[in-house]
C-alpha cells in the first residue's frame, strides 16, 4: 500500500491523525515538537494530510447559507474597502500638493545652504584681514628697526661724530659712552649694567 520506509518513522504514522486533530494531548504535543524541529518529510506529509482531511467536508449533508448572510458580508466588506480607499486617497491628496511640499523643502534647503556658505565666507575674509594687518604691522616694525640701525651706523661711523665718555661716579652705575653727530643725533652705549648687557639707543632728529 505504501512504501515500507514511511512506517519506520513513528511520527510519520501519526501525521494523518494529527491533521485530523484526533491525537490525545500528549501525542499531539510530541508531534508538534517534532514538526517544529524541522522534519521535512513529516512537514510535507502534514500538508498532504491536511488536504486529505479537508475532503471529509463532503461527507456533510449539502446546505447553503441564506442570501441575507451574503448581503450582510458584502455590505461590511464594501464599506471597509471604501474606507480603505478613502484613507489611502486622504494620505495622497492633502490640501497642499506633494510637489509644492517638495518645492518648499528645496527652497529651505538652498536658503540654509546659502546662509552657511555666506557665514563661512565672512569668517574666511575676517581671518585673512587679521593676518594681513598682522603682516603689515610686522613689516612696519621691521622697517622702523632697519631705519634705526642705519642711522645708528651712520652716527657711529661718521668722522664728524664726537665721542663723549661718561664715567660712573658711584659704584653700581654703568659706564656710558655717547657718540654725537650734529645733524643725525646721538647714540649712547653703556657697559657694566647689573642686568645683562644691552645697548640703549636713542636718537634725536
Amino acid at each position: 500500500m505504501n512504501n515500507a520506509g514511511q512506517f519506520r518513522d513513528p511520527f510519520r504514522e501519526l501525521i494523518e491523525a494529527y491533521a485530523l486533530g484526533s491525537l490525545d494531548s500528549e501525542q499531539r504535543v510530541t508531534v508538534a515538537e517534532h514538526l517544529a524541529a524541522g522534519c521535512a518529510e513529516c512537514t510535507k506529509a502534514l500538508e498532504e494530510a491536511r488536504l486529505l482531511v479537508s475532503q471529509l467536508s463532503y461527507l456533510a449533508p449539502e446546505a447553503a447559507p441564506l442570501d441575507t448572510l451574503r448581503g450582510r458580508l458584502l455590505e461590511t466588506v464594501r464599506a471597509e474597502a471604501a474606507a480603505a480607499k478613502s484613507n489611502a486617497s486622504a494620505i495622497c491628496k492633502s490640501a497642499i500638493p506633494l510637489w509644492m511640499w517638495g518645492a518648499v523643502a528645496a527652497v529651505l534647503f538652498f536658503a540654509l545652504y546659502n546662509a552657511y556658505e555666506a557665514h563661512s565666507l565672512r569668517e574666511t575674509i575676517h581671518e585673512t584681514r587679521e593676518a594681513l594687518t598682522a603682516q603689515m604691522e610686522l613689516q612696519q616694525e621691521s622697517a622702523r628697526r632697519l631705519a634705526w640701525a642705519q642711522r645708528e651706523a651712520l652716527i657711529l661711523t661718521d668722522p664728524r661724530s664726537m665721542k663723549i665718555a661718561m664715567s660712573a661716579d658711584a659704584k653700581g652705575m654703568p659706564e656710558l659712552q655717547a657718540t654725537w653727530h650734529h645733524s643725525m643725533g646721538i647714540v649712547v652705549r653703556g657697559r657694566s649694567f647689573r642686568c645683562r648687557p644691552e645697548i640703549a639707543r636713542c636718537s634725536c632728529g
Partner: protein, 195 residues
Amino acid sequence: MFLAVLTRSESNEVSPDAALVNRLLQRDASAFEDLYDRHSRIVYTLVLRILQQASTAEEVVQDVFLHLWRNAAQYDGSRGPFLPWLLTLARNRALDQLRLKSERQRRREEQADELPHVVAIPDFEGSLDEKRRAKRVRELVILLNPKQKRAIELAYFEGLSHSEIANALQEPLGTVKGWIRNGLLRLKEGLQATS
C-alpha cells in the same frame, strides 16, 4: 482531478482562488464576492454539520469570511490550495464554537427544531468538480466499516480525540486508532486512483 487536490501542484500557474486572494490584498471587494460565491456553500455545509444549528453556523461562516477579508495575507499559496486552507480555518472556528458553548449538550435539546438550510443556489465555476469530488468522497467512505466511518466523523465533525472516540464507541483505543488511520489511507488511495 483528485490527484491534483491531494498533491501540491508543481507548476507556477496561479490558481483562480490564489488570484482572487491576491486581489483581496488590494482590498478588492469584488474578489471577495467571487470567493464567497465559490466557497460559501461548502464552508457553510461543514460548519453546519459541526454545529448543527443554522444561526450559530451563519455566525461562524460570517466570522470565517470576514477573517479571510481582513487577513488574506495569512494564506500562503506555496503551501497548498486555497479551499483546504479555508475549510481548515472554518472547521477550527466551528469546533472552537462547539467547545465554547457546549453545543453538544444544547444540540440534543434543539435538534428537533433546527433543520439545515438546503437551498438551491446557482452553479458557479468549479461547482461541477466540487459535486463530483463530494460524490466520490461519499462513495469511498461508504465502503468503510460503519464504525470506522463513525470514528472518522466523530473526529472530524465533533473534534473528539482517539480516547474520546474509544469511549463513545465502546471500542479499544488501539482499534480506534487503526480504524482512523486505515480509513484515511484508503480514502487517499481511492481519490488518487480516481485521478
